[in-house]
Assembly symmetry: C2
Homo-oligomer: 195 residues x 2
């Protein structure tokens, strides 16, 4: 048991670094960029509050676990801003290596279980993963509207790009949520200042 606990605490200690991975999105009060650990907490809260937006096959307890783990690879691979210009294949390769190393710190049974959850999230095929992805995508636009434009201004994003990059996954996992949100986004973009 002692070795097992040592491995678990080593993983949990390494995970502390997610608090220092900075994202492209900013806090609602615009005081600073958001980090990936607090983002992970916030999207879990979104998923729990908005669980009724999910289809009947979605098990919210599994969605929370997916979102708990979904960004841990960023400790090694960094955040990949959705409106940025990162090479997707290169980033995916980096994330695979990161997942090997980071989940590999855990005892073997947990390493496999955690990796399976993360792989399922990344594949975005099961109902749980589709909903988790939609929730992960819907939080930054709400922050951006609160703080005056945030990453949209920084990356020069148009409403059409937003519809494609965010609307597509959100509609897939939480269609009523997108239907409610889209008119608000349109209104915001129609009067958004340029940088």
């Amino acid at each position: 048991m002692s070795d097992r606990l040592a491995a678990q605490i080593a993983f949990l200690s390494e995970a502390d670094q997610l608090k220092s991975v900075m994202r492209a999105s900013r806090l609602h009060d615009n005081s600073r960029y958001e980090n990936s650990a607090e983002h992970s907490w916030h999207v879990m809260l979104y998923a729990f509050v908005l669980a009724e937006q999910a289809g009947p096959d979605v098990r919210i307890d599994r969605v929370l676990k997916m979102l708990l783990l979904h960004d841990i690879v960023e400790i090694d691979a960094g955040d990949n801003p959705i409106h940025g210009t990162v090479d997707a294949a290169a980033q995916e390769a980096k994330e695979q290596i990161a997942a090997d190393r980071l989940f590999g710190l855990l005892p073997q049974d947990q390493a496999k279980a955690f990796r399976d959850i993360w792989d399922e999230f990344e594949a975005a095929e099961t109902p749980d993963a589709v909903f988790a992805k939609s929730i992960d995508r819907v939080q930054p636009p709400i922050s951006n509207m609160a703080n005056g434009g945030g990453s949209w201004l920084e990356y020069g994003v148009t409403i059409d790009q937003l519809s494609q990059r965010v609307g597509t996954p959100v509609q897939r996992g939480a269609p009523r949520l997108w239907q409610w949100l889209f008119p608000k986004l349109e209104a915001f973009f129609s009067k958004m200042p340029s940088k």
Copy 2:
């Protein structure tokens, strides 16, 4: 539905402020204080990884939800450092008012459900709450050992105070974990520099 979603998003937006509530504990790399949102994510990860430390009656899915919500009252009431000298009764009164206001932003059914989860955590009586509390208490000592002493140095904490304030709840919810951790804490305190 539209009003319901508006209330839910208002709550989720207000919750963003938990990212700006600073705790007494510091990151493992000692670069800055930890905030209560990223702490909440980290203790959920602790609970998930260390679930096998819980007693047979503990339902880890409920523990995760408790830890997701457990610090939201701090948006209004502030963090209450375990080694600090806050008036416990006054702090509890502030937290009750905070819970009324913050959970009250949600639709009524969710306001009640979330408040019930938080009340259960605070009461620390059910097996789920006892385990959640033990996990919430065990994370800061591990950070403090990583960063050279952290809040122990700042508050002049002794190993006896630590045993009482942290050991008691951790032993209650996760006794084997405390058995494993305590000798490490003793060794650390025996050579900890003073401030």
